[in-house]
Amino acid sequence: MTIAIVDYGMGNLHSVSKACERLGFDAVVTGDPSVILNASGVLLPGVGAFGDAMDHLHESGLDVVVREAAASGKPLLGICLGMQLLFDTSEEHGDHQGLGILPGRVVRFEGGSYKVPHMGWNKLEYTNASSPIFEGLEEGHVYFVHSYHVLPARKEDLLAVTDYGQPVTAIVGRGNVYGMQFHPEKSGEMGMSLLRNFMELAEGAKRA
């Protein structure tokens, strides 16, 4: 079984790919539609600006591929910007259309007395503890770096939040589609365990 890490020219995918390897899963960094569609699970990472990322996805035709992968029922995980891309729109430097796989929008932090970006280790609070992504895991700390956050349109898509002066969307999920606002590959043992759970879902889906 193979996990496809979608390479669309945004950010460094080395850390994510190495994290998969350390967990003992076979991961390939790829922009090849057939590899992505034949993988047992798909990771959509991303660092940078929303608009640039959508441009890259669109130019390479990978937006269609990622939507198709999501629709096929195979486990898909968006990480950081990759999670934000799953939603309808973002207001980061103007208005942008996202992939629209999950309903909701991406908005800027209203900083107030809180520093923006939200950067550092913050604790997850499960809003849906029965999700298989949390299998065997107690609420723990993970590493965030972001200036925009997601407001999902459906409350039931929210799996975990973190407290940063307001409840901030940390993990979303619906069916086979998941998103994590933080960097699981930079979140120590907790992050690695969440990644492992996702990979096991992918493995299970393949078997089934």
Partner: protein, 252 residues
Amino acid sequence: MLTKRIIPCLDVKDGRVVKGVNFVNLRDAGDPVELAALYDREGADELVFLDISASNEGRATMIEVVRQTAGEISIPFTVGGGISHVDDMKRLLRAGADKIGINTAAIVNPELISEGARRFGSQCIVVAVDAKYNEAWGEWEVYTHGGRKPTGIRALAWVKEAETRGAGEILLTSMDADGTKDGFDLPLTKAVSSLVGIPVIASGGAGNKEHFYDVFTEGQADAALAATIFHYKEIAVPDLKKDLKARGVEIR
């Protein structure tokens, strides 16, 4: 709430850890990759690599160290030392570093902060400031070249400029406290923390656990960095974190 971060710092020269590392349970205490992995296992929240290589070969070696480290650890790490161009930043980020520390080069060319932030995002740009109290001014002065050269620049004005230019974090070293083990420079740390809206990493002077408590509370630091006391096991990271947590500090 965000937790306070504990950050061990490794000085690396030509691909080897220098300056007192005394780990008995390491196969090779001079190997930065192995040491980084150990700190990750012990619960360090982040790591800083300071490249003190003087040669181009040494710098090239650092890229390889960064690449290997990125594959071995699952916490963020910053690389600093001798970075004077956005191309240097790009190479290190591509190799897997999460953040880039710039010090002297930012003083010489403040545009480096703006350009780095624009190209890679503010969260990647850590401006390191070495400050020493200037009696005549009644405030702190910025030093460069590893704390040897006074610049005539006021530290508080400089950190503010760094923030305005897009720095994502300030790594603040007190030249007065560094090496003393008498504690972090609380007045300096507090002055900077209350002035800027970006996280401040306090550095220099850590000698015991109490010092960390003080810098997180009175000093208002977001993170605290130390080298020797961690390397020599005078303070173990897990003990320190347990102690701080017991005293009510938000800790992972």
